[in-house]
Subunit: 216 residues, 4 copies
Amino acid sequence: MSYPPSIQKLIDLFSKFPTVGPRTAARFVFYLMGLSKEEVDELLKGIIVLKKNVKLCSFCFNPFDIARRSLGEGGTEENLCPICSNPTRDKTLLCVIEKESDLISIEKTKKYNGLYFVLGGTVSTLKKEEIKKLRVEQLIERIKNPAKFGIKNAKFQEIILATNQTTEGEATTLYLERILKPLNLKITRLGRGLPVGSELEYADEETLKSALEGRK
Amino acid sequence: MSYPPSIQKLIDLFSKFPTVGPRTAARFVFYLMGLSKEEVDELLKGIIVLKKNVKLCSFCFNPFDIARRSLGEGGTEENLCPICSNPTRDKTLLCVIEKESDLISIEKTKKYNGLYFVLGGTVSTLKKEEIKKLRVEQLIERIKNPAKFGIKNAKFQEIILATNQTTEGEATTLYLERILKPLNLKITRLGRGLPVGSELEYADEETLKSALEGRK
Amino acid sequence: MSYPPSIQKLIDLFSKFPTVGPRTAARFVFYLMGLSKEEVDELLKGIIVLKKNVKLCSFCFNPFDIARRSLGEGGTEENLCPICSNPTRDKTLLCVIEKESDLISIEKTKKYNGLYFVLGGTVSTLKKEEIKKLRVEQLIERIKNPAKFGIKNAKFQEIILATNQTTEGEATTLYLERILKPLNLKITRLGRGLPVGSELEYADEETLKSALEGRK
Amino acid sequence: MSYPPSIQKLIDLFSKFPTVGPRTAARFVFYLMGLSKEEVDELLKGIIVLKKNVKLCSFCFNPFDIARRSLGEGGTEENLCPICSNPTRDKTLLCVIEKESDLISIEKTKKYNGLYFVLGGTVSTLKKEEIKKLRVEQLIERIKNPAKFGIKNAKFQEIILATNQTTEGEATTLYLERILKPLNLKITRLGRGLPVGSELEYADEETLKSALEGRK
């Protein structure tokens, strides 16, 4: 016994979504079956609009809405996202992040006013085929010649490598530090320490060391 | 700072999916953005086909694939699912379940060969508006006159109320027992006891009582 | 840096307690250090009294309080626990359990009025040295000749093997069934089924099979 | 049905241990019942020795072993713990911690060579009766006049408030900062930031802010 093919097919497609297993995928399909025609059309349209209207910023690779851009919001550059085309952002700072949602996380702190670059992932090994998945060459090009990618009057003085504090994030940062060294820029990392809500007893030694050294 | 509207719109739609919060919904959208045009089209088509090809069985309300039916699989009835139109199923037994996936769970045991009825939910209170959400009237009609809904030669002798063993499932079963009583049929419930893998120490008293009474 | 030896020694001893790791053991020691002399003495006395006053029932191996016994509670036999010496218990039923707390769990259901036998564990393999840890010979002796162990007028007709529904519990029960077969008694197991609070969707196939077969 | 009083009494006493509920306490008692006389005696002796040999350091309130002290380990002061009586520790730094195990955590980093003070807890409110539980007056006395409590040649220049980054730890630190302000010393806190192993996506805003500000 199993689901009919039209249902099974969609369960299989939803099972490829991140964090979704077959059981949750099945719940998604039954949820869709219970939606009205209008609600399903809204979802279909949403997906179509996403693929049509959203493109990647030519400088930072952050996705943005073309429709919104053409309405005059943000800068004047056709291919730049609102952050990259915002003339008030600090164009001496570049923050390299793993993925799009990390950009949102940092913007929410309201403590950063520079530009971003979405690296597109992390590596666990420094094998060539692994590193090829990252936008390393694109990063170097953009640091060297931001004007070529639409950012005028930029001159980066500090590159913040804001990867996760995981083994993969660490490996990626070590690799980038080596690659970016010849550019003779200030390269920084996010500060380590005790997070809000944490207890000394459960902190690892490395974190506690950083918290002691970074006391103020 | 927030996501562009085309992205945010889709995040909102995915956030309504069962078990999905805004963070997961955002991951879904970024996942979609990374898919090729072909892959997105496959998903869109899957959803369209689901809404077009899948309909609810006129007897048991289990969804089935019209396309598959017209290919001659299962019975001859246009509006019946493969189980209801299968002449070898035992038409004296009717198993009432809360939702579609429970049918799959029971079919997998290969210990049940009767028909099903998808109740469409459970109730936590016996308020009128709550009970209206369930297919109670439809259940009674189908028990009384299965032929009217496409099942020939059926005469139910036992109704198995296979709701979950939760408070809601229990309330629903109590309600159904009262409603079905005048029909003078054998009404049964799934057996309570210790599940595979369980330990006496962590079993509640009710379960352990049932396990003692049901020893064999 | 580490704890002083008097503290470390006690951390090591508490770390051997079931479920206790070194971090919890350290918390125990600091808790003890914070207790008054009277409170510590109460704990020391409690442990000494336990070892002095509590002994194992000569029939069922359940621990009981000698002091309480000599005060006339329960039966007249010096070496029997209150259950075994209670004349109103049903002496045709014997329930074999893995450990002492399982006896409490079953008593709490108030659905069992027979005698018990504490097996002392379970086996994961049927290797000789594993099985030696269980009180198998003692079980057989007590079934054959309960009077020899202080239970008068007993004649067991049913042996309930109330092990956990885990792999180990299952292996132990299979072994006991084989061993007890020549005694020609009714051998039963606790009933399998859906526990209170459970949902069909998360039940394993075996449990659901039993729930279907045990419907009533 | 319940446990015999000698067992129940000890279950009650163990249930007062930190993190221990009645079920775990019962397991402890059955564990003790299974120990040999020698093993139980070892535990009893361990507890007695703890209460006899371990005392609190007159300066920092950290527990230490008197026996070990008299053997000549550490300093010469009768009432000082090995850290406080160690002539090589930096006597310009004082680290205030909530509880004994935090001292161990910091010592393990090998990044701190000053003295400690065990505050004895945290407060959630600044009510008088709450604050009385902390060793606030003792802290001030010891900062003002370390020699009076056995520490010669000490002159503190920095007080590190190393409480947990929890709401309670924060409230306690705010209170101590206010209380210690008149002493005109440098008062510091542990550095906030991303802990090892963490991801930006799951970091709270405060932590991410600190990580950005503390980048290096």
